[in-house]
Symmetry: C2
Subunit: 460 residues, 2 copies
């Protein structure tokens, strides 16, 4: 790790110091002052450098002039590691240099004060300096890394499906449209028979709501593939579970002919990835849980086998308990959030609901051979958050797909995939931010993503 | 690796077979038929399953009925591994099952024929079945993985900077605008004093051209950060080096005060990541190089120390050689592609050009203390592709930034970062697809990305 040392020009990060430094060691640390206590003989700075939730105490003799230093200042301190009375390591500084002046006037995050998430969100550009947001960002990093590592070990090829697309996979119409800002460019590029606002691509172009269809095209040559890319929904939703821009994990498995193999894969993947995160980001995870719900909690779903119910079985359970629901049971529309949460609670485990009525699901799902009004779809319902994953086996018969009453226009290419060797595939999508909410208990999805975009808000 | 075995339901991938199978072993393989030879006693299938560039020979007794099997069919074959006369492993099949019928009629990629990239690109949905595109996709996967691994080892936090933004970092105006497709939604969300086409976010919203400013905000709390996300440019460019949607790697290094430390970091990072790719994707890399340029080539820049020139030094070299250029030397506009390539060739190594005239660079770059008309900017010029990276130290003094004549509107938040503790940072961006072109020699950037988007083209 010579590289790290050189490139950090000598300073050490607090996470490394608190893990491996020895009393008596001389070193340099750099970071933001989170709190100051001026006592009789010494001044105490609580320092944080973004590498850990922990604050690191720096002790400075009263004789040093620190009157220009305040909360928010960034300092470089050199000195000797000692053990504080509370058993923690601290730095007894010999030299202190101010790297950047803090400024209390106008700084929105008063030290020692708890600020509600709504208030913190209003100051999005400074949010990374708030302990629990920094912890969320490190945790998010570890979760991204764990997913990439896991999929790579299983030999999946990561495909960066495009953000710009001419198709609207779910057919829901809740899409954002894209065109160049410059009217001059649109005019310069105009062609006969193309509306001028579409002249850049010669077509209407949208932001992707899902990379699934594109991933299928890739799996038809590469085998197993996955994507972890931004997805977009133009919904007017104030829900704490929805964003206009979010990250979606999607995987497509080649030669997949059995919905139970797919649910088995999903269960193993989510458990394995979560165990890796628990191992690599324990402190940050605990800190986020404590901040969100007041205490650390176990992820009990890691230790149990998950349940699979057919749609009919799930419906029977709900019907037998319908007097408990505020929401009416409408089997023709699927289940409400309340009913999803009930199913997970009733089973005491996460629940896969499979074999859904075809008319509740998109055109691309494979029909169950013995029950033509059912499709090989799955929803994964988790405690606390409800639906985490949706997936299916894909219809790989060109003729059956072509005859589907809700086949969207413009998907001739999707039919052609089947025409030239339609192998069976299946796959699923997982809302990445919702998964982070599941891990941490954070109520509002806007607090698990660096730059949340939602109705009437696109800061920075 | 019990998981892999179970979930693949018994079949093995060709990459694993050709690496580790033993003669005499019984196994099952699944894949697409790339070629068929029917000889007197046996039929030979060349099989590929997307796991490797290699084709795997499956031998079938003439007695088996294979008349429905054609190029493009997908089969499952079970049998015994044997060594072929050429020394390669092959499978002598006992059972063959057709998983999906191929279809020669209308299939655009005739076997044994070379198709020009322009033609292949017209059939974007089937491109993954073309050997060199599949190899590019695997190589791209390995490059993404190598970057994430490297940055993680150095303790950088990956930040998924948002695609949607209200700012236009470079101020170039070549942006795409975004709004909901539904007029009803726009009307439903309208508010007083907001133009109805902006009612979703209450502002004009664009696709990001760079995540740098957002990354800086995160580095002001987390230390070192990076992003590897889609970026967009609404340019009418037919250039083989430009796309409307591409991937950009950007890193922001906290406490960075010296442009030479930044160039040193970049050189080490690019060399280290490239060495990892050479190790993990050797076959695919060679295959892509051979396909692109007719032969395998060395990346000689891995083995030499790179050169750093000041802008003035670079200009002197160009002026002394100006009779060689087709393009005129215009020092007030920077260097042409031809001149960039000349500099790299002249030095015999990649070249960092530093200390640029301030008026050629964006507002956020730090002024050189001893020469106020110069900024701490860097361009990295590579052989064959020209500019690969651009970067700088960032101006961290609020007052100096505020006084900049080209400070864009709406960046009060960016100034506030400095007001509340403006630590020195520096960073750079690297065009990910251009880097892949550098590795493989692929001429057109449209062939190193799964779904290229460019003027008048947004397929699928």
């Amino acid at each position: 790790m010579l590289l790290v040392k050189r490139f950090c020009s000598g300073f050490q990060r607090i996470k490394a110091i608190t893990n491996t430094a020895k009393p008596g060691e001389h070193l340099n640390v750099q970071g933001w002052i989170k709190n100051i206590r001026r006592l009789k003989k010494s001044i105490f700075f609580d320092l944080n450098d973004g590498s850990t939730v922990r604050r690191f105490q720096v002790v400075i003799p009263k004789s040093v002039d620190t009157k220009d230093i305040c909360v928010g200042s960034n300092i470089s301190a050199t000195g000797c590691i000692q053990v504080a009375p509370n058993g923690q390591l601290e730095l007894h500084a010999e030299h202190v240099k101010v790297i950047a002046d803090g400024n209390i006037t106008g700084y929105p995050f008063t030290p020692k004060q708890q600020h509600p998430p709504e208030y913190v969100r209003e100051h999005l550009h400074l949010r990374a300096r708030v302990d629990y947001i920094a912890a969320q960002m490190r945790l998010r990093h570890r979760a991204l890394k764990a997913i990439h590592d896991y999929m790579d070990e299983l030999d999946f090829v990561q495909i960066t499906t495009s953000v710009l697309t001419t198709n609207d996979c779910e057919g829901a119409g809740e899409v954002f449209r894209v065109q160049p800002e410059s009217d001059a460019l649109l005019k310069e590029m105009s062609r006969p028979n193309v509306p001028v606002d579409q002249s850049y691509f010669d077509k209407k172009v949208f932001l992707s709501v899902s990379g699934q269809l594109h991933l299928e095209a890739m799996s038809y040559g590469l085998g197993n593939t996955y994507t972890l890319t931004p997805a977009f929904r133009a919904e007017n939703s104030k829900s704490p579970l929805h964003l206009a821009e979010f990250y979606m994990f999607e995987a497509e498995l080649a030669f997949m002919e059995d919905i139970n193999s797919l649910t088995e894969f999903i269960e193993k993947m989510i458990k394995s990835v979560t165990l890796r995160i628990l191992e690599s980001a324990k402190d940050d995870l605990r800190f986020c849980q404590e901040k969100a719900l007041g205490s650390v909690f176990e992820l009990s779903w890691l230790k149990v086998a998950w349940t699979t119910l057919s749609y009919d079985e799930a419906l029977n359970i709900l019907q037998a308990n319908k007097q408990q629901f505020k929401t009416e049971l409408k089997p023709e529309e699927g289940f409400s959030k309340e009913q999803e949460l009930f199913l997970a609670k009733h089973c005491g485990t996460p629940v896969f609901v499979v074999d859904w009525p075809a008319n509740q699901k998109p055109f691309y799902m494979k029909v169950v051979q013995t029950k033509s009004e059912r499709v090989h779809a799955l929803d994964l319902l988790m405690p606390e958050v409800g639906e985490l994953c949706g997936g299916s086996l894909r219809e790989n018969d060109e003729k059956r797909l072509r005859a589907h009453p809700h086949l969207p226009q413009g998907l001739e290419w999707y039919l052609e995939l089947r025409k030239f060797g339609g192998v069976p595939t299946g796959g699923f999508g997982l809302g990445f931010e919702r998964y982070l909410q599941l891990l941490t208990g954070v109520k509002n999805i806007r607090d698990v993503i660096p730059f949340p975009r939602y109705p009437h808000s696109c800061q920075m």
